[in-house]
């Protein structure tokens, strides 16, 4: 019985011509002796013939050509070197919000946040600078200024350098349009030290 079970597999292998000549002859001997296996063999042959009856279709030359042409186009696209985006394109993409709709809102929020942070940073910096000048000027005005050594004005940069004689030498420098500088100039030159000789220095040119 075990031998017949094994032979059922061999029947299909012989039908598909997958047995060696030795295995084939052993099976043939068994089939002659075993009616059940002989019946299985005939049944398998009929099934094989029935399966062969199935209509087989194949692509026509036109179908193959059309598929090859479509494949050619796809392969061309696939083999194209990918274009590198320049940094300008990348920046422009961000600025123009050229993203998928789901990303546009997030990018707009990110840009707005970035702008607010930058603005906040510079306004704080300006305020700190202003406070520094204010503090310096008030300390200076309250100190004992004995003389103004020189005033240097650079028309290009519009910077004024005032060299003062206090208990310690002190120089303050800033833009002429800054109110603190103007206040100091007015205070020191017009009000308190108008009688003193103040040298006007000309900045050295390069």
């Amino acid at each position: 019985m075990e031998k017949c079970k094994k032979n059922r597999k061999l029947i299909w292998l012989t039908i598909y011509n997958e047995l060696s000549s030795e295995q084939k002859s052993q099976l043939e001997i068994h089939l002659q002796a075993c009616s059940d296996c002989q019946s299985d063999y005939e049944e398998a042959l009929r099934l094989r013939r029935a399966l062969d009856e199935k209509i087989q279709v194949a692509p026509t030359a036109a179908q193959l050509e059309a598929s090859r042409a479509e494949l050619h186009q796809r392969l061309l696209l696939l083999s194209q070197p990918r274009l590198q985006k320049s940094w300008f394109d990348k920046v422009w993409q961000i600025v123009s919000l050229d993203f998928a709709p789901s990303w546009r809102f997030a990018t707009a929020v990110a840009l707005l946040t970035f702008g607010v942070l930058i603005g906040n940073f510079y306004s704080r910096k300006a305020a700190t600078e202003y406070n520094f000048y204010q503090q310096q000027i008030s300390e200076l005005l309250e100190s004992n200024i004995s003389n103004i050594e020189s005033v240097t004005y650079d028309p290009v940069t519009r910077q004024v350098a005032i060299e003062l004689n206090t208990l310690n030498d002190f120089t303050i420098q800033g833009n002429i349009e800054k109110p603190e500088i103007q206040q100091l100039l007015a205070h020191s030159i017009v009000v308190r030290y108008q009688n003193l000789s103040i040298r006007k220095k000309i900045p050295e040119s390069d």
Binding site: W12, L51, K54, I55, L64, S67, R68, L75
Partner: protein, 191 residues
């Protein structure tokens, strides 16, 4: 593998599109037939054909000449068909009528000489459709083995390479497949 084919493969591996297309022309007719046998739908066959050869083009540098090129290509085709069946939940088959009336410009019947008269043609069509349904009910790997063996005539050893499994496993798949086909076609054929 011939020298000419090896040369084409090496050129294709270096990105030569023409060499790859020459390889495609060698095997695409058989690959398309295999795909049709696996999915039984002309439109799906065309889509899978593109997918198979695009995958082959993208991975041809991985081909190490350890096997025949056609077995490597058939493996891609079989795996793509199996994955396609997993993705596609509703399977539709073309009716054989569209091929039998002779008006189909894209597909032709290969075994026409065996069909002799309209009555035989009708019986043959019904049997073919029944066989196709039975084959489609087979598990994917059993079906692949059966189609490669019965309708494409490959040796079991070649199928083992294509399916990336042992020859013993292929024999088991084959045996189980024919046993199931025998049962499902019992009432239909002259057994």
């Amino acid at each position: 593998m011939g020298n000419e084919e090896e040369l084409l493969i090496r050129r294709a591996q270096r990105g030569n599109l023409k060499a790859f297309e020459d390889l495609v022309k060698r095997y695409d007719e058989k690959i398309m037939r295999l795909i049709f046998n696996m999915v039984s739908d002309a439109e799906d066959t065309r889509d899978i054909y593109q997918e198979v050869f695009l995958k082959a083009y993208q991975s041809i540098t991985n081909f190490r000449f350890a096997s025949e090129f056609y077995t490597w290509l058939y493996r891609i085709a079989v795996n793509t068909c199996i994955n396609f069946r997993k993705r596609k939940t509703i399977v539709q088959h073309d009716s054989l009528d569209s091929y039998l009336d002779g008006n189909n410009d894209n597909w032709q019947i290969l075994n026409t000489s065996e069909i002799r008269n309209p009555e035989e043609q009708l019986i043959n069509k019904e049997l073919s459709e029944q066989i196709q349904k039975s084959i489609d009910r087979l598990p994917a790997r059993q079906k692949s083995v059966f189609v490669l063996k019965h309708y494409h005539g490959y040796k079991l050893s070649e199928i083992a390479v294509i399916m990336n499994c042992s020859e013993g496993t292929v024999k088991n798949y084959m045996f189980r497949a024919v046993q199931k086909l025998k049962i499902s076609l019992q009432g239909y054929q002259q057994l």
